[in-house]
Assembly symmetry: C2
Homo-oligomer: 733 residues x 2
Amino acid sequence: MRNTIAILLCLSTLQAQTPADRPIAGFQPESARRQADLEARFDKALNRQNFGQWMKRLSARPHHVGSPGSRAAAEFIAEQFKSWGYETTIETVYPLFPTPKTRLLEMIAPERFTAKIEETSVEGDETSRIKEGNLPVYNAYSTDGDVTGDLVYVNYGVPDDYTKLKEMGIDVRGKLVLARYGGSWRGIKPKVAAENGAIGCLIYSDPRDDGFFRGDVYPKGAYRPSQSAQRGSVMDMPVYPGDPLTPGKPALDPNRAPDPKQAATVTKIPVMPISYGDAEPLLRALGGPVAPESWRGALPLTYHIGPGPAKVHLKLEFDWKLAPAYNVVAKMTGSEKPDQWVLRGNHHDGWNFGAADPLSGMVAVMEEARVIAELARAGWRPKRTLIFLAWDGEEPALLGSTEWAEHHADELQRNAVAYINSDGTGRGFLRVSGTSALELFSQQTARDITDPQTAAPVLDRYLASRRVAGQEAEFRIAPLGSGSDYTVFQHHLGIPSLDIGFGGEGGGGSYHSIYDSYDHYVRFIDPDFQYVRATAQLGGRMLLRLANADWLPFRADATARAVRLWSNEVIKLADDMRAQTKKQNEWISSGALKLAADPRKTYVVPEPKEEVPHLNFAPLQNAVTRLEAAAAALTLVDPAKLNPTKLAALENALRLAEQKFLRNDGLPRRPWFRHMLHAPGFYTGYGVKTLPGVREAIEQRLWKEAGEQIGFTAFAITAYADWLNSAALETKQ
Amino acid sequence: MRNTIAILLCLSTLQAQTPADRPIAGFQPESARRQADLEARFDKALNRQNFGQWMKRLSARPHHVGSPGSRAAAEFIAEQFKSWGYETTIETVYPLFPTPKTRLLEMIAPERFTAKIEETSVEGDETSRIKEGNLPVYNAYSTDGDVTGDLVYVNYGVPDDYTKLKEMGIDVRGKLVLARYGGSWRGIKPKVAAENGAIGCLIYSDPRDDGFFRGDVYPKGAYRPSQSAQRGSVMDMPVYPGDPLTPGKPALDPNRAPDPKQAATVTKIPVMPISYGDAEPLLRALGGPVAPESWRGALPLTYHIGPGPAKVHLKLEFDWKLAPAYNVVAKMTGSEKPDQWVLRGNHHDGWNFGAADPLSGMVAVMEEARVIAELARAGWRPKRTLIFLAWDGEEPALLGSTEWAEHHADELQRNAVAYINSDGTGRGFLRVSGTSALELFSQQTARDITDPQTAAPVLDRYLASRRVAGQEAEFRIAPLGSGSDYTVFQHHLGIPSLDIGFGGEGGGGSYHSIYDSYDHYVRFIDPDFQYVRATAQLGGRMLLRLANADWLPFRADATARAVRLWSNEVIKLADDMRAQTKKQNEWISSGALKLAADPRKTYVVPEPKEEVPHLNFAPLQNAVTRLEAAAAALTLVDPAKLNPTKLAALENALRLAEQKFLRNDGLPRRPWFRHMLHAPGFYTGYGVKTLPGVREAIEQRLWKEAGEQIGFTAFAITAYADWLNSAALETKQ
């Protein structure tokens, strides 16, 4: 180990400084020194035993939203917070949450086969034996349905796959599709299938993406065994997450009579996840052309597309009820700025036992809270208010966080400093996504935490992995799409958000299965909870710094850099599409596509596409230039030299600036998503789209809309720049 | 079809001309018109029924070198040639050819399993039932051996794979390796394994590369079934092909007592091919780390590397005998220039039934000869001499062609115009590789043949496939590596060579198995022999044009263009390696590689590499410039305006020019390979390396040698350029 450390010293120039000497954004030198001491005490007080104990307890039985386990989990967590001295409440919301009544999948031709859709208990996994209260394998917010038809294999089931099917002369209308997990968030698959006329959708985990191809299967290894299927939501969350019946409003009434037909985000066709054990007979029974090479998985068969002769019958019925979602809210009021709220959250509900997802992150948050309370008892007080949040109902649709934040929207937009989220965490490399303005803040936090395996700073390991992967050797926050509870804060309310954790080295195929258990976690993911501890160090430092900073560490220059990058990207996207369209149209008109195709295979030459016009990107470019200038002007302001009133004004301006990126009418066809810099992709689901109004209009070839969205996006960026300019100006008056 | 044709017209500007109007390189306009008529008669006389009849007859029993079937095939072919009026002889050579006596592969730990190494008969495949005279599954020129040891999976078994193994801390010394087919010519695998200290080598066909992953397996589909293994040579042919005991000399003595220990090209360790059915239990029994993702195949298991616990015992004994190889030589003497020989060849031996490989090409050559003889009987005579060659013993080591050409080396270097080779051919796109000087000649031939499936010119289909694949939409002859009988002509004797055929659309996994049968060919490869006919059209036209041309159509400008390209490539190769080495060394010294690695997995940081010096490429660049100037000067000479003496001198100069690229001492460590522009790769086998002396010295980091080879290569190019300059000058005197 010592050699490693010696080598590492030269990687980080910051490392030569002792912790107490290092600058911390938002802190005067003297405060930074005190802060370093505080953080050292924080680290020392962390007790790794708590992680395992809490995880074991909370993962001992199913604890999905609406279950007794979820209620018990919320109560246990609330008790802990209370016992540590937090003002704690359980705030309950009542969203629509369907559970399965009937699940039937059978192949009726060319031979009979009934899917098992059941995860069996395995040796050495204690909780896999529990049947009581278990949620079976299903996709939440699938519509009810009873459909029969020929089966078609559609690869990942994303729009490009249907383009390819069309070229092969295959039409899914009136048929059921079999898609594999991967390539998009799962909810995209039934959405695109329905858009293409399919009447039902099956989603299976191919062992190539999630099974024996990746590593030995559970319980021998960490990976998904043949009987395991991935549960998960298929709600159309890129339109809006949360209760499908109350978009933009909190679901507070437990006595409503819910009508799922009113729910815009429920799928149009029935959809069910299956294991690769259940998928294999279906795939074997498919005829038709052999699937393109990139569509083929790891099952020992020749992948055909169909349609048929495999014919399947899928019947699904759900119990459409309101479920109580118990959000635990625990507050420690700030001593100097009680109206500035630093929020820290993680969900507590899981698909069944949920040890990795979400408890590995949840227990880190709990330990952060415990230690901070211990520091508080020893005399330290945060200047700003800390609020810990343990969400319920994240898995089905970010239910708890969305409804809670919709309920408290006004206060949050007034008072929030930032929302720091975590979810499952594991062994490996630092992962930080979120608001660009927190880039330097995040980098400095990573600088000051030691990687448990290598004893190098977490930042150095992160940078080494980027370099070796051929990426820019700089710390860069990735923008947020969706997939966890930051969504409402970041995209709906414009509150600076971060999503943090570690990962990349723990192997795994337990995701959303009953094998996401304590036993699996400690064997394969983070055996000694070293990285859960590192997550707590990370989250804890972020809280302590935001709570204690002399001024809030938002940096608009990072925002400007990121927005310039994205702006260049969308301009290049249009240029590339123009060149690609031109080339493709020429290939069509000259007959080259037809000539290069195998005449013995069906090949439908695509229709020529409308040429890509030159778009007027000038408003966007000018707005970004204005933003760069404003950010540059702000870097010249030294907060340390401002009087308290001016400093407070500047800090508030920076804290609220992110909301300038919101557009009241939101994005096209999804007004709930209001942030003009990023959103989950309409056709990717979790995957982020930056400058989404502009980017998705181009991708969908909506040229008029692209022009409009350039304007709206430029307007938001300009509003942000002007807000910064005013803030800078005020410091001088 | 009509629409297709209409669209195609605009693709080929040449198409607007009628065949009789089109220019043909080497022909005066009036001769070109006569030639077009002749070619139309040639096409008309082709009889598709012959292909099937001959293929069926010749593939009815095993006909590998040394077998009664091979002798019968040679005699049948010779009879045909004779009956058509050719001066025909069978010239026999006697190379060393081992056949198996003992083949045993068993796993002895952690459980027992004995490999079947047998291809069983399948429904609907007539010849697969034949046992008599069948050569079992084996690799020719494996050494004898009886070895036992732990097994290690080494992916494709190429040098990069061993680099990766080293990084993973895995040593193959004293162990047996299991490599999959692909990624290199098979003979490279035991060579590199032995260099790394392995004691035995198994090569299996992974279903990902060659089996159910690609398509339905035989007999349902065309692809390799689980019991099928790929036979083939593992002789170290990149050093020299042909009889291992007589490098550079013909093996004419049938009475020698062969001593395989004297054979430099026999493998150092025993090696055997196995099916994926036989490989699966071995792979399942491997422990150790999981193989890197790109190493994993399509068997339904987690690919581990080992070493062990799988322990195997491999015992191989061969009968090391001389085998008679019967080369059929059939001549039609030219009327005007009998001393200019146009050679056309294909081998007749196969691994067992060999319908696709080699008979699909062989029957095309026979039909070309038959029709040309018919034309001759009707009064036409070739100006130059035509020689048809049906080779024996190509499969084990290009035995027949190499020994024959070594025997006739002087005459060939004096008299040969060009050698046109084919081998297996199938449905799909034109494939022409060879001497760059024949690029325009080949392009014009492709222009004048109609693709049987689309009715477009073969050239247009070829160009369309290049465009759609994003390649330059120009006709380009690929340089030749090895893998068929052109090798001795091109690389050892410097005779302009072409390798021709069609392919890319017929599916297949019958390669070198007993399922390469007539039944397989007509079901899956070229059911109506349309592309065999197209191959005969191609070969026939090439022969008729070279035989009849007013002057030979060699074009040095294409050579100059190609050499400039390759010269730029090797310069870039050194630059890229320099940058890559610098980066990698920096990653090593800074610790980034170590930091980015998973500490729970063994990772041995590579040693820093010597920096890549700047090489003096000036001699090469100057030589290429000189070549370009010489080629440009030659294009100004109009052969049509020369008097017969001068024309004859020019023609001879161009015909012999290619030999100027030969270096008497050959390439480093393989003097048999004398062409300085291209050679099969020392570590790729079949795959070509251009400017091989320079390129391989750089790849192997032999900087001094690279400098020397730049000199030798520049010398050869300059000699060629000067030869052209003299030829151009002489036309003016």
